[in-house]
Symmetry: C2
Subunit: 409 residues, 2 copies
């Protein structure tokens, strides 16, 4: 996002599919792990499988409130000809039976309580009537009926969850079922964000002449947070190879797992991402056939991917969705992202640029997708939109009324 | 999830639609607000509109690297007959022009830099050639071309975002564009979670006879976190009206915005949620025509909704998705949730219970939805599933091959 006396021409751009494939190769899933307690495990990725060391439930338990019985004692029971059983005790949930039962006996039992030895079924309370210790049973039960068998939920020895499993609410619950209070998960990727450009200052300060506020640090930071990373915002870096190089060294020393520059990736004299990459590592590609977001660079310093985003807020953010997000999720070992989306007809014709994959921000108005894009430099191209559509390289026109998938922000 | 010597029959259940409507009425959007800095604003809901107090960009700026010109100086330019202009200075991004230009003059300018007075267009560097201070222009530009006008992104005085707007990455970025470093947002609802039941103990402890580990505290806590709430887990409450009542008082004193009990909402003698509600507030409904999850109670103590969930982990979690989640999002002022979903044919026939709305956990295997439900007491009914389908009250059968929407966990 700068110029000078010598201007460098843009090299050949590469298709988005090729850029994504190179980005994938440059993104190595993290091996670093950490322990988290179960209250903070949601959304994390298991780094160690969970093998059950016990049965869940740990005992045969009543699945209904009622009476634990020997099933054959209830054979042939009807409302007119009930079977009469003698109730020997009551077991509340959390309690344990003190005695076994035999034919003709029963134990009043609460849902979740252990069934007594001898019992092989539970009669629902609705199918009984009680007078003193005399219980009339109105319908027969078969063996195992209304009993939750020991180990039926999780059997001791089975692998409940494996390495790489993503922790949803029910999976967190299933770990709790085994009494496990802490899990080992992969660390979250640390993503250094460097907004480069002499004109960029942080919100909260007063603007000087020719200056604008830093947008990309915040929009990139938010995308990074949404997709399992930890943003490490750095002070805005001036357009100067030495200072930028020193900042990069500091990021690497602090174990950043990805470096994301914004600005400095266009073709002017002062486009320093490229210079710093050549000095310290290698350039993987420079320029993608996407619109907006063409002047994007990917490089590597050692094993650390370095992504140079366009300085323009909309180009930067659209490439954060297209390119940074899948890289980050791969490094974080998260499953591929599935956008919330709506499928609607377009309310207008959308023209695309031949040979470039287009990211088009849209609003959904009266059930139709209409364009929200203003200019690459305008963050309101995105912030006033509901989501975006993609028009692939081979398509240069989407007619009004064609059905499109809007990926929602 | 308990029983005793006196058992209470279940009252009439209400349809899920009615339960949802009553739950909505009982859920009052929070008025409490707080200040957060912009780095932590993602996903929050604005409690105060953002009105621009300045133009973004704050000056007319170059949208391309090139030369700022008076458009008419380029009229008729071609590669064979270029227009020759005298370059008066160079303006880098972050710099400011020191002089105005007139016809026949130009200023070399970087993308994002302020255009000099007198200039009304920018010629792309690719359309020029330079020799000393002599610049040849190969194609004409029209007034305003390649200029980002002052205020074109956000004009001073306009409302950028309104009360209730949900902060996405681009909206966070647009707030940064105005130099705002802190925003006022609605507080997150505080949700007290009480796992009731004498048999329930916390993970990390040793199981005694008849005991099981608390699952619901963790699965509920995760759903609450996913949908904008702050879970406040309490020690498991014993099945005793006095102690439970005291715990409820403590929650209300600590400004819980919702109380969620799990367990204690079935029909046995020791089902205390109902008793505590009758003592301290009112019961709104008891029993929903859903499967699983019928024994669910909603009440109110003052303005605070109290949700009594079934103790069974799958019933509890399915009702967390169906009922607690929309309540929580309404209280948090979040937009209605849109699940990530896949639309696939079923790989088997699904039977539902007449007159009950059914929540069916499923796996997606080879592009087909197959049942994953084991029993309401088994958390693996959910943790080994990919998502769920809903079979509405009026439908008792979904044939193999019918297309269903699987809402993904």
């Amino acid at each position: 996002m700068s110029t000078g006396t010598k201007m460098r021409p843009f090299g050949k751009t590469i298709p988005i599919t090729e850029a994504l494939s190179l980005a994938e190769q440059a993104s190595v899933p993290l091996a670093r792990t950490e322990q988290v307690d179960l209250d903070n495990a949601l959304g994390r990725v298991l780094a160690r499988g969970i093998v059950a060391d016990q049965d869940v439930p740990p005992f045969d338990r009543a699945a209904m409130d009622g009476y634990a019985v020997v099933a054959e004692s209830t054979s042939g029971a009807t409302r007119d000809e009930p079977r009469r059983l003698a109730c020997v005790e009551t077991v509340h949930t959390g309690g344990v039976p003190s005695q076994a039962i035999g034919t003709g006996q029963c134990t009043q039992i609460a849902t979740g309580a252990p069934v007594p030895d001898g019992a092989d079924a539970v009669v629902m309370v609705e199918e009984t009537e009680r007078a003193g210790d005399d219980v009339s049973v109105f319908s027969p039960v078969s063996p195992r009926q209304h009993i939750g068998r020991r180990g039926a939920d999780i059997a001791s020895g089975t692998e409940l969850l494996g390495i790489g499993d993503h922790l949803t609410p029910s999976r967190v619950g299933s770990i709790a079922a085994l009494g496990i209070a802490e899990v080992e998960v992969y660390a979250k990727p640390r993503v250094a964000i460097l907004s480069t450009g002499n004109e960029i200052i942080a919100p909260g300060q007063l603007l000087g002449p020719g200056q604008i506020y830093d947008i990309n640090r915040y929009s990139l930071g938010a995308v990074i947070r949404e997709h399992g990373g930890i943003p490490l915002p750095l002070p805005t870096a001036p357009d100067n190879v030495d200072e930028l190089g020193a900042t990069v060294d500091a990021c690497l020393a602090e174990d950043a797992d990805i470096l994301v520059f914004s600005g400095g990736s266009s073709v002017g004299e002062r486009d320093l991402t490229i210079d710093v990459l050549r000095l310290k590592g290698e350039v993987v590609f420079h320029g993608i056939a996407v619109k907006p977001g063409k002047p994007t660079v990917l490089g590597r310093i050692g094993d650390t991917p370095v992504l140079g985003m366009p300085g323009y807020p909309t180009s930067c953010l659209s490439n954060a969705y297209l390119l940074l997000m899948p890289m980050l999720r791969r490094i974080a070992r998260l499953p591929a992202h599935r956008f919330r989306s709506v499928t609607v007809p377009t309310g207008q014709r959308f023209k695309s640029v031949a040979g470039r994959h287009q990211f088009y921000s849209v609003r959904v108005v009266d059930g139709e997708a209409v364009g929200a894009f203003k200019a690459s430099g305008d963050i309101t191209s995105m912030s006033l939109a509901d989501g975006y559509i993609e028009i692939p390289t081979g398509t240069d026109l989407v007619e009004q009324g064609e059905v499109v998938e809007v990926k929602l922000f």
